[in-house]
Each structure stands twice: as C-alpha cells, then as structure tokens.
C-alpha cells in the first residue's frame, strides 16, 4: 500500500480525479469508452489507492501487486488511474489514441508503463493471471495479482477454464474483479448471454466470492479487505455491479450502448460537472 500521508487525497477524491483524467482523454480523442471508464473509476480508486502495493517511480518493481487489464478497451480508465498514481505523467494523457502515443486506445503491455498485459482479445486475462500466480508462488513472492474482467468476458470458455484452474491450484494470491455493467457489444449482457446467478457460479467453481455495489467506495474497501484477508484457501473474486457513465448525470441518464456517443461540446460540460464536484 502506498504510504498513508496525512494529506493524501481521499478515495472519493481519487475516483473523481480518475474520472476527470478519463474525460480529458475522451475530449482530446473525441471518443473513447468513456461510459466504461466512469463506471469503473471507483473500483480502480480502491484498487490503486487502498489495496495495491506499487512504486510509482519503478512500475516494474518486483514486489508490486500486479494489475491485469484483460479488457483492452478499458485502457482509457486504466491510463487515468496510472496517471493519478503517478506512473504515467498527467501531461501525457492528451496523447491518448494519437499516432505514436504510449497510450493506445486498446491497452498493450509494450506501450505503457504499468500496463502488465496486452488485452483486447477478450477472455485471455484470467488465464495469464493463473500463470502469474503460479510463478509468484514459485518465487515465494507475496505479491497479489488483480485481474479486471468484464461481464462480456464471462461468455468466453477460457474464463471458466482459468476459474477452474485457479481453484485447482489454490491460488490465494489471485483477486479477480468482474465489472458487471450489464453491457456488451450487442446490448444488455443478460440478453446477450445470461450468466446469473453469478456469485453462486464462482463459488461452485471453488472461489471466495463477494458481490458489491461497484460504485460504493465503502463497500468496495470492505470487499477488497475481505478478499485480501480471507483465511480460506483459493482464489477470490469481487463481482462489482457498476453503472455506466457514473458521475456525469446527463451521460448516466442517456440510453446506454457499448460505445456511448458523446457530442463534441458535451466533453467540456462533463468535465465542468466533475470539476465542480470537488470537495
């Protein structure tokens, strides 16, 4: 965990700034998976500023907790968190998605400090996490592997191959975070491919499973603590029910789709709203 400074920003403030960074990237590109970023900002704030150990000046520090972004299209959200964590300079965010930027629209390990894997071909992240957890255990490392997957990735068979494997190997150093935002490319997740009852499924696969409101920071803190401190053997999952576009009411109210359209002038409006929400 980063040193607890007396004047360190609170978690809600971290989440607000993550939203702001993401909106500024969206404004520069004129597009981006902004609804996903706004929805997952609270989870990222708690992961990076409550739960995880890392060294901003040394993103490859061996003792760090790993954060795997399986969902490459959420890169805009992770860049925002990495900027807030001091791993990526805030001034670099306005290169997002531009030619030759270190911040491509889909997250790739070779491009960005702090980006552990190349995501985007969905359903691979949890399989890589299993191998990292096995490797960390071989090295007697105490680092944890956090893996963010989407509800869409629950459709992929490989996710459940990895889920079974993680339980088989008793990977208590693995924390999966599932963003249940009820959205996939073709529409509502439940209409694309139903996956409920979800917590029960993970439990049946041998996981320590919790389901929380992914936009409620106190609940998230409690869930991350419970996941890290659980004495049970085996992997842990936190299923996070999130609301797309959370934090920007006029976007939150809009009819949702996988790729939320934002009119050019609306970026500035959204930024002003989130700026105005400063404590």
């Amino acid at each position: 965990m980063p040193p607890a400074l007396a004047n360190a920003p609170t978690l809600p403030e971290r989440a607000r700034r993550i939203r702001l960074h993401a909106l500024r990237m969206g404004e520069v590109q004129g597009q981006g998976y902004i609804a996903q970023a706004l929805g997952i900002a609270d989870v990222l704030a708690v992961a990076y500023f409550h739960a995880m150990s890392f060294r901003a000046e040394d993103p490859a520090w061996e003792g760090r907790d790993r954060f795997l972004l399986s969902i490459g299209h959420y890169a805009i959200a992770l860049y925002a968190a990495l900027a807030e964590a001091g791993i990526v300079p805030v001034s670099e965010l306005d290169t997002y998605g531009s030619d030759d930027s270190r911040l491509p629209m889909s997250g790739m390990a070779a491009y960005t400090p702090g980006m552990e894997i190349t995501g985007g071909s969905l359903g691979q992240g949890l399989t890589v996490a299993v191998g990292m957890c096995l490797g960390l255990k071989r090295k007697a490392s105490r680092s944890l592997v956090y893996t963010l997957l989407s509800d869409g990735e629950l459709n992929e068979g490989a996710t459940w191959e990895a889920a079974m494997s993680a339980a088989h190997w008793s990977l208590d150093n693995l924390v999966a975070l599932v963003d249940v935002n009820q959205m996939q490319a073709d529409g509502r997740s439940s209409s694309v491919l139903g996956f409920e009852p979800l917590a029960e499924k993970w439990r049946a696969f041998g996981w320590h499973a919790q389901r929380v409101d992914g936009n409620d920071i106190p609940s998230l803190v409690a869930a991350f603590d419970a996941a890290r401190n659980a004495t049970v053997a085996g992997p842990r999952v936190i299923i996070c029910d999130t609301r797309m576009a959370r934090g920007v009411p006029f976007l939150e109210a809009r009819e949702k789709s996988h790729f939320l359209r934002v009119e050019p002038h609306e970026w500035a409006d959204a930024i002003r709203l989130v700026e105005g929400a400063a404590p």
Binding site: E27, D99, M108, E156, G157, A185, F259
Partner: protein, 329 residues
Amino acid sequence: MTAAPRRATTSAMIASLAAEGQRTAPAPFGHALSRLAETDDRIVGMTADLGKYTDLHVFAERFPDRFYQMGMAEQLLMGAAAGMAREGFMPFATTYAVFASRRAYDFICMAIAEEHLPVRIVCALPGLTTGYGPSHQATEDLAIFRGMPGMTIIDPCDAHDIAGAVPAIAAHPGPVYMRLLRGNVPLVLDEYDYRFELGRAAMLRDGADVLVISSGIMTMRALEAAKLLEADRIGAAVLHSPTIKPLDTETILAAAARPGRLVVVAENHSEIGGLGEAVAALLLRHGHGPRFRQIALPDRFLDAGALPTLHDRYGISTTEVARRIREWL
C-alpha cells in the same frame, strides 16, 4: 478547457474505410443476406456478440426468429454453427476476422471443415482495417485459412462485390470464409463491367507495363493507383481475384503470361501466406518467371494509430502503391 484541435486519431471500431466524398452503400452484407433469406429458409444468422458490428443486425431485425446471439464465445459459435448445419440449416456465422481465425480455428477445422459442412463464416476487420492494434488486426487470417483443407476463401473489394458474393457463397457446397467490410462500405466496382463469380478473377482494366493482381480493398487501391500511374504514362492492368482459394489459376496464368509486364500482387494481409505467395507459387509451379513484386503488410505486429497513417506506413495506401510500382518499373 477549450476544445482540443482535431488531429489524426485511432480509428475505433466505428470507422469507415470510405474516403471523404466516396460513394458508399450501407451494410451491404446485412441487406444481401436478408434478401437471400426471403427465398431460402435454411439460412440462419449467428454471431458472437458482434451482430451490430458485422451488419448482421440488419438480418436480425428482419428475421428475429432466425437470428442466434451466441454471446462472446467464438469457439461455441463455430461448434454450434456446425451443429446447425448438421441439422440441415445454413448458418452465416459472424465475428471479427481475428477471433474466427485465431481463437476458433480448431473448431472451424474439425467441426466444420473436416465434415465439409455448409457454414459461411463472415468476418469484419480483415487485414489492416482498424487502427486498434494487433488484437483486432487480422493480418494473417488468409494464411491461416488457406492451410485448412476444403475451405473456400473470399476477399471482396467493396459493397458491390459483397452483394454479389453473398448469394454465390450460399450456393456453394462446403464451408466458406469471407472477409467483410461493414458499415458504410465503399462502392467502386459497379462502375466496371464486373460481377462477382466464385472462383473467378476478373480483369478490371488493361495496361501494358504492370499487371496488378489484387483482392479486397487493395483492388480499390490498385484502381486508384492505376489512375495516378496513367498520368505518368504507365499502363497498369488490374486483375481482381476475390476468391483466394481456390485460385482462378487459368485467368491468373494467362494474364501473367503476357510478356514484358511486371507482376505485382497487392494484398491487405501479411506478406506471408496470402494471395502474394499463392500467386508466386502458382507461377513457379507452371514455369512462369515474370518479374514479381509483392505489396503486403510486413511480417510484424503492426502499430496502433489512425488508419491513413498506418496505410501509408505499411505501404498499402494508394499513393504508396503508385510510388512503389513506379520505383520497380
């Protein structure tokens, strides 16, 4: 904060290939399939959470009870399409080219191709048609599927080609892999005396100095490049070969046999295992030895970025095609 100035940005999933002002037709695949399905009730549409992004939503709206949303599960999609075909239906299964070729390969190979089932696999984002990076750039799909026995492979050029290809591949026995352009798709070939015939290459224009053999969007590029070259008094013939497998060996051999022409294959694909190497092997096997050059994507994982930037960078933009042909002549 004031609005940032416009700059070249990564073309996301929604980008269109059409140049500004170019004629286009919307969702040619979705409309052609819907037309065909009116008269052939064996046809069903299946997708892996990419109906909207492969224009299959047009079919789904017209025939909701013949549309199967399989979820983002490409292996399941292909296995289930095989099962549908076994029961007498004709599935059109859609996803992105990367996910069919990479993730679902074994399912297509064993469940579909080995049993020679009439499944039509139709895949968006072929080659370098998105700036999203290697996860979505299907630079080796043709190489992968060329290695699969019995697989027919189609790489259409434009909306006109797609509209013609849909009924043709439906009428074809056995499995088909077709590359798809979706959304507002450029319309080019309707101005030529051309219509899609499975297994046939077509000479779109003649020229004395260079023969360009091309497929997919590279035919569009080749035709534009030929106009640029014309201004330099260079005659470029363009032979469009949308069927990658089986190749139209007769037409290609005849065209390449004409003496004195440089033969260039232009493809939106890795230089390994696509149309270029297929044509080169064909010529060699038949004892032809023309001067031969390849316009293709390099054997690397490509960059992310704006499509025009990347097409220039990797040599498949119109100006790059023309420049390189000039250089070779």
